[in-house]
Point group: none
Chain length 126, copies 4
DNA sequence: GTGGTCTAGACCACC
DNA sequence: GTGGTCTAGACCACG
């Protein structure tokens, strides 16, 4: 479901957030579908419940999931993309960083576009 | 030379590292050219010298710059890209994160490839 | 655990780095084992925490240790040696320096090989 | 005569000291032979005369060379190795550091002894 | 509790 | 002048 690398510098709660979103993008979690409770997931991936809780809060804030008290947590029925200048700027910034880093690995534009295509294929395939 | 956003979650020393590398990739800093001394840059961007020093150490570790004791710091004459599995994995991971984030902004593959192309143009143009 | 000679010309953080690695090579620190926290070690050897931190960063960069956020620092489970031309060159250079220095102490090749053997024995014995 | 790498972390004056000693060990500089004056050498290797001067002072302190005022600088006629506990300890320490570093490159005792032998051959061959 | 970042200010070696 | 090291003390995110 979600793979955690405790040695990563990316905080665990963020790995969970990204992991859930990845599952949704891939389609292995569908709109309206129930996701594990905090306790369940914390047991599954052996992570402190507080950490899972923090991740779920963040996902709720981003309107990726909805918590219905007493019934559980569900993938938001419909996510309506909205213009979000900040997040777009972040994406552009990340892409710039990737390109600079790639330069120092000897990768050119085609290599990067190739990796982008590969990544999309990999996601759709699942 | 290097723009610092003190409110960014990206640490200042990392912003400096990326900023210097960006200048080199864009060509506004050329191989062999001297970059500002630690104290100079720290004054310019009003950041503690230790922070600049940390950035420069990291850049030297990455062989992006060379420091000549008593004379200053210079852009490495020639950077020979070498296979670095770890860094390639980091790039792939960043791209995956970008794609997931982009999905939630309603951007598709073509949008991303478009941004990649734009970013390359922007860099070469300078 | 780690002995510091404040009068040595070798910087303290480097003495810590080498000291930890020596413990691992000798086997007194085993893979997966926890090493003292930055604050603990800084208290133990009466050195500023920042200095210990710098040493730990370097060790992590070399993949000798892993730090798990909030839980502490651990000897890497498995260290996979990889080709590193730079470090090999450094070793060759160090050996050359040793040999030249040894000449001026009247030591010949056999003496050096003897010391090498002794040092290995000493390490395995512990 | 002496190769200088201004980018090295080893200070230039120390590179000169080691370089001269290496020449003597190799036999390309013989006992009693004249070595270049400070000015000559500083021109030859394009290094600040003060730096060469400092190197020569150090070599004199170590009784490796003798300066005869008005006549020049000469390789000491005869170097009598003396027991010098400190320097022996330094050599042992260097060897220990080499062995630890070698461990992390996957080199074992035989590899190290091999490099020692190679280095001796290389020196005698010149 | 953990490590990571940043500031301020000091000292030192090198050139 | 340069960068490198170290100390002291502070703040923050993470778990």
């Amino acid at each position: 479901m979600v793979k955690i690398d405790p040695r990563s510098s990316k905080p665990i709660y963020e790995q969970i957030v990204d992991g859930i979103k990845e599952n949704i993008v891939k389609g292995s979690l569908k709109a309206g579908e129930r996701i594990p409770s905090v306790r369940e997931l914390s047991r599954l991936i052996t992570v402190n419940p507080n950490t899972v809780s923090k991740a779920y809060s963040e996902l709720e804030r981003q309107k990726v999931i909805d918590t219905i008290s007493g019934r559980g947590t569900f993938v938001s029925a419909y996510y309506k993309p909205k213009d979000d200048e900040d997040r777009l700027l972040k994406i552009r910034s990340s892409i710039k960083d990737v390109i600079i880093e790639a330069y120092y690995l000897g990768l050119n534009k085609n290599d990067i576009v190739g990796i982008v295509n590969d990544t999309y294929k990999e996601m759709e395939g699942k």
